[in-house]
């Protein structure tokens, strides 16, 4: 029983991290129709910058983590400028550019941080729930992710800037006709996606050490969670992230850690096939 609780809570925490990554995919795709494959890289950059700020510069943990998130936001904006900066770049070309950028980022990451996995200590201490000893970091991840996703929801539904971004997603041509600069909105989306990716990285790195090439696994998990909601829905991306995180955690706990990602993604695939069939039946 205590083992199950441990796997569930750690899975939910991992799933919240995936949900943040997924929201990054969704924010950028909604506004620009580009699938941003630097989303995993942004998480790695966030985690690494926080690590350096913490260990080399001796900045307090919370501040170091905030710096990591901001750095990832800046990196997101930079990647966005390269990927969609040129007028009229088709979304598919931008997608390939983001793939290239994520590989090019390896060189910079290895040069600065080396090629070994990096981690820093979590929020210290643990707590007991139903007999299971759990890291307090799990609670932090879950709490911060939920707050961030709620803030994101409010931003898009309630603020004028958020509505402007939704408008670009809804009808690009009309957005241009009312005077919205859709390219600038796209860059803004990339920066926001960077912040979300950085947040995921900063929250996950104490639980799951990151190395320069962790971006692939993170991007795939985040992308799978985002696709769960058709790359447009934040709620479904959260649901997808949670399914994926809990499944990975249970598989690693009860079976084999080396199968966790493959089996969890297989499960997502089955769920999506079921979802699509149900939608087809309803239609």
């Amino acid at each position: 029983m205590s083992a199950l609780v441990e796997y569930l809570i750690s899975g939910i925490a991992l799933g919240c991290g995936f949900a943040l990554l997924a929201s990054g995919f969704v924010v950028i795709f909604r506004v620009t129709e580009v699938i941003n494959f630097t989303q995993g890289t942004l998480a790695v950059i966030g985690g690494f910058v926080a690590y350096s700020a913490l260990t080399s510069a001796g900045i307090p943990q919370g501040l170091a983590e905030a710096l990591g998130v901001l750095a990832a936001g800046g990196a997101g904006l930079t990647f966005g400028a390269v990927a969609i900066g040129k007028r009229g770049t088709p979304p598919l070309a931008s997608l390939v550019i983001t793939l290239g950028l994520s590989v090019a980022a390896y060189a910079a990451e290895i040069a600065i941080w080396g090629d070994q996995p990096i981690s820093f200590s979590a929020l210290p201490g643990d707590f007991v729930l139903a007999g299971a000893h759990l890291l307090r970091q799990y609670l932090l991840v879950i709490g911060v992710a939920i707050l961030a996703l709620a803030a994101l929801g409010i931003f898009f539904a309630r603020t004028y800037a958020g509505k402007g971004m939704t408008a670009c997603a809804d009808n690009r041509f009309a957005a241009q006709m009312v005077g919205i600069n859709v390219r600038r909105m796209g860059l803004f989306a990339f920066a926001l996606g960077g912040l979300l990716g950085g947040l995921a990285g900063v929250l996950l790195i104490p639980i799951q050490p990151l190395s320069f090439n962790s971006d692939v696994g993170l991007a795939i998990s985040g992308f799978a969670a985002a696709v769960f909601g058709g790359l447009r829905s934040f709620d479904m991306a959260l649901a997808g992230g949670l399914v994926l995180g809990v499944a990975e955690s249970l598989i690693a706990g009860y079976w084999q850690a080396s199968y966790q990602t493959v089996v969890a993604l297989g499960l997502m695939l089955l769920l999506m096939v079921w979802q699509a069939r149900r939608r087809a039946e309803l239609a």
Partner: protein, 232 residues
Amino acid sequence: MLRIADLVVRWGVATALDGVSLTIGDGEMVALVGPNGAGKSTLVKALAGLVRPVSGTIAVEGRIAYVPEGRQLFSGMSVEDNLSLGAWRGRDRDPGRVYQVLPALAPLARRRAGTLSGGQQQMVAVGRALMADPEILLVDELSLGLAPIVVSELADQLRLLHETRDLAVLLIEQNAQLALDLCSRGYVLENGRIVTSGSSAELQRSEAVRRAYLGGGDKYENHADRPEQGPP
């Protein structure tokens, strides 16, 4: 005031606009008629800055707002949001002032734009443009896909706006009869060129215009056979 001089726009090798010149004075209501593919939509895109002309000039004094062809609403968003986004470049985002001139929109404020009837959607599109507090309103295919009764209501509203607010209007229409009834003067665009222009009365008398655009029959014949868009 809007003055377009010798405008040339090309899509690749095809010339969409070939030396188009037209002017709209302050508070004037002008029609631009022409068949499908004449270059009307290209002209709108050039005015909105979405395509770059090869040559020619566009001089605009005052704010210009667009009612694009096919409404182009933010269909997943509420009517209220659609209206307030019309003020993106302005300051006053409160749709209340549009409800004053288009009171039929007020009860629809919370409805999703995509669920409205075609006529209601067109009214939202006009309202959204008015939110920019324009001096010039560019209306692209007001009547397209709408039932004749709906078209004449919208036309009345547009005329009222023009008269009460001193709003200059460029009405781009395939429905030449409607456009010439509403406007004092007009231009005829064919194959990217202005082939004739003059007062609406002159154009309505012109044999060429009558033959090509006005036909002999029903006033709204051009569009009567098109189904209304959106749910009934």
